[in-house]
Symmetry: C2
Subunit: 109 residues, 2 copies
Amino acid sequence: MTNISSDVIRGYNDTMILFLLRLGPSYGYEISKKIKELSDGKYLIKETTLYSAFTRMENKQLITSYSGESETGKKRTYYRITDQGESYYRERVEEWNLTKDVIEKFIAV
Amino acid sequence: MTNISSDVIRGYNDTMILFLLRLGPSYGYEISKKIKELSDGKYLIKETTLYSAFTRMENKQLITSYSGESETGKKRTYYRITDQGESYYRERVEEWNLTKDVIEKFIAV
DNA sequence: GACGTTGCTACGTCTGTCGTAGTAAGACTA
DNA sequence: TAGTCTTACTACGACAGACGTAGCAACGTC
């Protein structure tokens, strides 16, 4: 299985996280599992990358956090998307459509 | 006109440059013009980014340089793609196809 | 009793991109 | 004829995002 390097997907981590948070509040471990699943195991986000993305996005007010608990009572930090995060996500989607078309022009075999 | 930020296209600069060099040797100024044209003005590579990409790729032996002259006799550094660069380009194309599919899964409005 | 999973935090490093600046020579414009 | 634009670069330092490594803690499983 060929995996995707972080260099090429860099710039989309935030978008992927926001996509998942749009489905409902979630937390680090779950997000990383879902990214793995949705990408069919082709992209595995690193823990440090993920948690630093959370911090960055919280500072930018794209998400907010609150503490909750796991089923077994362990503490967990949940994240929820904000309205600003929602707009940001939509902008990224538009940008993706442009970017995709541009890159395709440079793809040929 | 909406432009593409370097954050999202980052990771594809080398691929774009290699695509153009596959069409024949070229040099900095020409490459930057062609990127602008091919992207319909949606992506403008910065000079510093471009020249540092040349250096990086030459060190990795993906391209080689030689000096030539412009029509008016001014010195110019030309770059040519190597066999390694050709293989590298093809790997990036394959990776792009994977990446595109993965990102699309996180795109919804 | 050791190992795997869950769920994080801390710290320092590296790479690619960028801002700013400078150089130089021809071309075009007022 | 002076000033600006285009061409064609180089140098230097800053910054952001991703990463490697490490550590901690509680629970479940073998």
